[in-house]
Amino acid sequence: MIEFAALFHDLDVLTKTNERLDRLEEYLRKAPPDDAIWVCWFLSGNRIKGAIKTGELRSFLAERANLPVWLIEECHDRVGDLAETISLLVASEAKDSSQSLNDTIRSCLLPLRAMGTEERKASFWKTWDLLTSVEMLPFHKLLTGGFRMGVSKGNLCKALSRVAEVKPAIIAQRIAGNWTCDDLSMQDILDPGNEEENKGLPFPFCLAAPLQAKVETLGEVGDWQVEWKWDGIRAQLLTTTGGGGMLWSRGEESIGESFPELLECLPHLPPGLCLDGEILAWGRDGVRSFSRLQKRLGRKNPGPGIQKKEPVCFQAYDLLRLEGEDLRYSPMAERRERLENLMQKLPDHLPIGISPTVEESTWAKFADRRLESRKRGVEGFMLKKKDSNYESGRVKGAWYKWKVDPFLADMVVVSAQLGHGKRANLYTDYSLAVWNDSGELVTVAKAYSGLSNEEIKKVDLFIRKNITGKFGPVRSVRPELVFEIAFEGAQGSGRHKSGVALRFPRIHRWRQDKKIEEADHLSTIRGFAGMNEQENQGDGPLTDSSGNLLLF
């Protein structure tokens, strides 16, 4: 495991992407295949689940380090990472590394899942005797699943593609989806030939770039296909032969188990198909908010009750494969036409629809229509070049997202928490409040990002000097800092005293010019969300006048 520990250390220390890529490539070339496959598996975003619960791990650690559990928690707060905390608290006596990565995972990690507490404890004691000090952190990173090493899956594919001399996109397909180190080997990944890849795997998703220039710079309106930008989960729905198939998320996770009603559509679809689209919460009135969809997320095999209460649909917007033929290199316009033809042939009762196109003659008219976005429950427009291929990843010039501007409100920092990782030991996680009718500050959001490093340092210093109370890891702070917060929407929430929860709140800027009295009022936020009663009345169902949105 020592080579892996060295890789981990180097990737942690190297700051330039290219140096990191070189280092990873070097490892993949030299490492025994049985070890390298694990590195591919972890860097693909997989983690070993259910090896141990955090609480149990902390209690083992407390016993081993001969410290009370509360002190372990204090340390965890300071360090910001449990794996690192363990590596700092468990004193390693081992001088030499004795096991390969593969052996360590198979003997010290995987068996934990089937063990009872006592047996698991004995196993940890053995592991802690076995690991050298440099192996401590990487091992516990694998255990706790916080294993990122700053290498994206894309970069892993690049490194592998250099070793295999195969295109990164092919590698990406080979390591997409659910696989284990028992059913995929380095030989499979690095296979030189075999362009005929398994049809059940998703294609790398084509991602839209944010539209930063003026929309007019895109040229002729007629060259672009315009759709609403849906607020759901991006997914590819695939069929193989014999009524089988898969539903893949953009993170290339197989998510069919969470949406059985979509898998039930598969037998009605032609074989060798791949649709790109969006899973949406969809009621009788059309699209529902993302918060409704969240009730279905991460819930595997949902019962009929929740399926009925929180129905979903798959809104298709691209056709990537039909009867085994790869269409990604046909122009968007042609793919669209074939998609429309296909969708017309599908039975009406299926929860599969097509994302309608929006037609206008000028960009100015589109700009006007874009203002409907909030009422429609969409995030703006998607602009797709009619002659573009279906690209892998974020390729400029093909797809743009032309989002509506976020809501903005001035809020007061009322409490803070230490950050994690790079921000460990800095107060970077803030709770933000606005005024309610009784003149109290009520929390409506938490925000982690948006300040410059300079600002973070200043805010951190302010917080340390103005702590007024301690609630576990949370420090209440004398209200003084005012931040302008951008967010995408607001929903009613029972969790917060304010009754409101914000979507994607982030710090837009620090309003050093504002006093807390000038911060916004809760009713303003509720107004943004369309939550004030008066505003709720009279709003009819949000459907397209052409009837396109009615799928059921």
Binding site: A65, P68, R78, V79, L89, K422, R423, N425, L426
Partner: protein
Amino acid sequence: MKNEVLELRREGLYCPAGDFYIDPRGNVARAVITHAHSDHGRPGHRSYLCSDSCKSLLKIRIGKDSHVESLAFGKRTKIGDAWVSFHPAGHILGSAQIRVEVRGRVWVVSGDYKPQADQTCEPFELVQCDGFVSECTFGLPVYRWLPETEIHQQINQWWAENSGENRPSLLFSYSLGKAQRVLAGLNKEIGPIFVHSAVYPFLEYYAQAGIKLPQVTKIERGKDYAFEDSMIIAPPAVEDSTWTRNFRSARKGFASGWMAVRGARRRRNLDRGFILSDHADWNGLIEVIKGTGAEEIQVTHGNGDALTRYLREQGINCSVLAGASMRGEEEA
């Protein structure tokens, strides 16, 4: 805190029997100083008392004309009704714990200290007392130091690797104490050694105290130097300044106890962090506190809550010195 020996006042710890303060702020008549760091030895007082080897260093901080008297380690002097003596704290050259005895009751104020070995200062001395005011900058068990020889090896190895690539090694370390401790461990065979002008003035007093340091060159404005395979020691305050532009190709490191936590290093965009501290680590704090035999412990300098609770659970009468600064949290 208020007892028969010491009480906490706005300016700092005060001994009514001797009418003096220890490491005070503001402007007082008699200041007894633990060591020459600027958050302990501040300018503006009418008279100072410190250890012999602290005196010259302190004068650099507070001005040559200040009235400073000094005392050899272990020698007792009577101030008013209080007996005062200095005992090595092992923090930096001349750093002292201050023992104050009033009518048979003994309190020791630790200042900053470390029981670990350090060839650049007098070794820490454990002093028996009734009450002990302890620093607790690194008051969590995640802070554990390796012997300094291992850290010196790490630094030399890093320097040698960088030299091999023709890159200077820019190592940030506090000007007084840490810089000298780093210098003492450098292998001068690897290349030339340069120091920032903030580090330089202290060196002659280290030499006077008989501490062996390698030959260094002070970097002066407007002069040209060949830095390729060199080691450059500079205070962390210049990290983001234009001064470091002279060393674009340099690898950057920082020698500090804070480097024990990865996030602290990564946040600074450093190539390396060396865990070298002039404070006691967790085990050091516990051993010393228990070793003093004191029946009452007050902790200061740092977030003392965890250490206090831990000691209390072991039946030790410990509390956080009320009004103490939160310096530890501000990454001193």
